[in-house]
């Protein structure tokens, strides 16, 4: 019975010998997203034997196991039981916090702004306007360094990743790719289009977790000039008042 319900809600497949990939199949993006995040939390709360941890993202979650302590079939059964018990409409957070991120767009701070304008057929000002418009939801924490992974702005077409990734994208880079957007908390290689830069320190290794936002929190971008950026440089990204959408 429960297996049937689980099968209606998600596809559970092996992802190599030590992980399962659970992909939401509710037919609705928001529910898929809630499903995979709730599942990740349940797996952690119940301390399922042999489950090392999980990586929930937009519509899927990678469940990592220790094959010396359990096997995929056992974890699969347990996972399906948990999936069937999830309330798909339960919000991820009862009190989402909001993060307002100041961004210097274009120039050296956003070397790919022109490219994104070209690909989308927009003026650079319109690219900025579309990027600053939404109240974003933090979908998940990703690479590198716990980046806040967001749904991309409403560009007319998806933005392809760079054909050859940059070897060094600075911390604070504000970027877009496909139908996604993010901020990079740490300097790392990257293939996303960098359209701007925030002077705020997104990550603090003395804090646990090192980034302040969680999946389900909200985030918005606003434009600042270079002078404001130098004034803000190094300040920490902190939750503040909810932005007016």
């Amino acid at each position: 019975m429960t297996d049937t319900l689980a099968a209606d809600r998600a596809v559970v497949a092996a992802c190599g010998p030590a992980a399962l990939r659970v992909t939401g199949a509710t037919g609705e993006r928001e529910r898929d997203w809630r499903l995979v995040h709730h599942l990740a939390r349940r797996l952690a709360d119940e301390q399922v034997v042999g489950v090392l941890g999980s990586i929930p993202t937009y519509e899927s979650v990678l469940v990592e196991i220790d094959p010396a302590a359990t096997d995929l079939q056992r974890v699969r059964t347990e996972t399906e039981r948990l999936i069937a018990a999830i309330d798909l409409d339960e919000p991820l957070s009862c009190a989402p916090r909001h993060f307002s991120v100041p961004v210097v767009y274009g120039g050296d701070s956003g070397p790919d702004l022109g490219r994104v304008a070209e690909i989308t057929g927009l003026h650079t000002e319109d690219v900025i306007a579309l990027h600053t418009e939404p109240l974003y939801t933090v979908r998940c924490l990703g690479a590198p360094g716990g980046s806040p992974m967001l749904d991309g702005p409403a560009f007319p077409v998806p933005v392809p990743r760079l054909a050859s990734p940059r070897t060094n994208v600075p911390a604070g880079a504000v970027s877009v790719a496909g139908r996604q957007a993010t901020i990079t908390p740490a300097r790392a290689p990257g293939g996303w289009c960098v359209i701007g830069w925030t002077p705020l320190a997104v990550m603090d290794l003395a804090e646990e977790p090192p980034v302040p936002y969680r999946p389900g929190d909200t985030l918005s971008f606003h434009r600042i000039d270079e002078a404001t950026a130098s004034r803000l440089a190094g300040a920490r990204l902190q939750a503040g008042e909810a932005a007016q959408p």
């Binding site: 010998p17 941890g53 094959p67 302590a69 990703g142 998806p158």
Partner: protein
Amino acid sequence: MLVVDRAAVAVVTDLGRTRGPALGLPVNGALDQYSARVANILVANDERDALIEVTAYDFAFTADSDLLIAVTGAPMSVFVDDVEHGMWEPVSVRAGQQVLLQEMRVGLRTYVAVHGSFDVPLLLGSCAPDTVVGFGTVLHDGSTVPVRSAVRPLVNPYFDMSLFNLGVLVPHFGGDVTIDVTDGPDADQFEGTAARLFHEPFEVSVASNHIGLRMTGSLPVRTSSAEVISRGVPVGAVEVPPGDELLVLHRGRGVTAGYPVLAVVTPLALDDLGQVRPGQRVRFRHKDVERADEDSRAWRARLDELRHRISTVYSCLGAGQLLRPTSGPTPEPSSVPTLEGIQ
């Protein structure tokens, strides 16, 4: 305290940051987990304790207290002052003596565990370096590492462990390497060319590190070009990114990515990849998940047996105090299973 006399590429690490991936941080940790675990077992530590990972170059240190150490991993010559000692066995070192690891000829990473382990900073419960966020204890000439001295210094003339057959299984290092992989979840996106992975060996390129190994060879071709939304990728994922190289992700991999996963390296074979050098040739071999599981369980049983033998040896030598749990690492929720054998 331990003072580093000579170091080129060496860090203090452990089995990895299991709480990291859910927060966007890679697991990292020892790239040859078997060698790291054995080193800690040999000195009666918890397998998750911090130890030193030496990469490629000579390494030397001096301690200001008596130590019990074990050296495992890629073969090196081990000297305590001027006396040569074996690897894969416990070695007693007196205060003031210098431990020198020299001339790694094959393999890439050697491990040094010290009984009682080290006091080093932790991030999310692990000391494993994360080069992306800039965390970790990196050792240079003159670095000091505090040793937890939870037991009295051990000086015992009978501690020549070469007398005992510990039966440690020592992996093979160097030469052509066979790497077991299981099917990846996105193999269908390489239709018609996926089998190229198994036809010819690949050569490891210099652009390889703890994040991933890049390899040249006859590349499978991705048939779909759809932009994939970011999702979790496992350690060991075999991908074909734009360019002319195969990418095999290792423990430092970014936890999310948008490339399809062609195959996944088995946990045991990841240890072998942690020991390959640029220029070495790697041949991939297909394995069923069930067989890979059997291998993992046999591997676990071997480690448990070794811990049991070590505990017998220490008890026989009247060094039972070594076996009492000291101030071990903070246990991580749902991390590796607790091991039996030590009371």
